[in-house]
Symmetry: C2
Subunit: 193 residues, 2 copies
């Protein structure tokens, strides 16, 4: 099972991809940061982040996209851009019928270090150890995206947070996703794409 983790952000959006095998054996596949230029207008920045996320999702074809949950009380200067980047990751997954899971940073720290208030360096070391890396994951700030992916793989069996959909869509959800894909395809045909 491939899990693609997203640490959302408008300037830097972390993406980490892992494979979860039998007995919760986890292996590293990819880590990177999708960027947008703060000098561009907001709409073009969102387009850059969306295109970058779509490229990652299509390249790694994850079974689940695991995204860090954004809270309204976070830093006022960045929270709206962060929420919008998270929204684009959800959209990109939903357009492809891929289930989305949302996890809080505390859940991620708990799952990985057993301590919901773990320091960043502790998290990076544990992420490296869990994935069998010889060095700390680079770029450092994308380690959070790997952590969110690992968190989803290691979550207690049957755990379901609000907003999390599990591996299987309901019939209504699957029909919706398929209808949306068909509509997109037909738009593409009409425009000669």
């Amino acid at each position: 099972m491939i899990i693609l983790g997203v640490d959302p952000g408008l300037t830097r959006c972390g993406v980490g991809v892992i494979e979860a095998g039998a007995y919760r054996r986890l292996s590293f596949i990819h880590v990177d940061v999708v960027r947008s230029d703060p000098k561009m207008s907001q709409d073009l920045r969102l387009l850059a982040i969306y295109d970058g996320l779509v490229e990652k999702i299509e390249r790694f074809a994850p079974d689940t996209v695991s995204i860090e949950r954004v809270f309204a009380q976070e830093n006022r200067n960045t929270v709206l851009g962060t929420a919008q980047a998270a929204g684009l990751a959800m959209l990109a997954a939903a357009q492809r019928g891929i289930p989305v899971a949302l996890h809080t940073p505390t859940e991620s720290k708990m799952a990985i270090t057993g301590n919901g208030k773990a320091e960043k360096i502790q998290m990076e070391r544990m992420v490296s150890r869990i994935l069998g890396l010889n060095t700390l994951p680079k770029p450092a700030d994308a380690a959070d995206a790997l952590a969110i992916a690992i968190c989803h793989a290691l979550r207690p069996a049957g755990a379901l947070q609000g907003g999390e959909r599990e591996q299987h869509l309901t019939d209504a959800q699957r029909q919706w996703a398929l209808a949306s894909q068909n509509a997109a395809r037909q738009r593409g045909v009409r425009r000669g794409m």
Copy 2:
């Protein structure tokens, strides 16, 4: 010049379309609300709003998409969903190379009634009068979307808020938008869309 106004929201997203002719003569084209079901998961709700906005943008082919600006200090329960809906409207416009303008509710009230603290009913009456409607615009809560479109048409000549791009993209922005469209088209071809 066709202007499509968006009053962003995750449950109800207002869309109002007007035409701005010579001498700032404005005429009504369309008003509606794009909805998502609050019982669905957040990713599928975002997909529903995005698909609805794309349908409106492709149907009316606006020259500008004018969106109500979202502030971090707004209602904590809804601000993230509102910001995400605004982000999807920006994405849908940017994907089609359509310029985006952001206007605050105060700017909209000032432009339409001359009073930045105008009451809702005052706004609805003025929107009706400006567009030459015989009744108040329906649905009532989509009047805000028409107001944001009118605000863009009536803004002081040369006014440019932060984050607003005017009618003409810079060369770099146009190249980016074209590159993104081409990438989307090629992905479509690869997937047999």
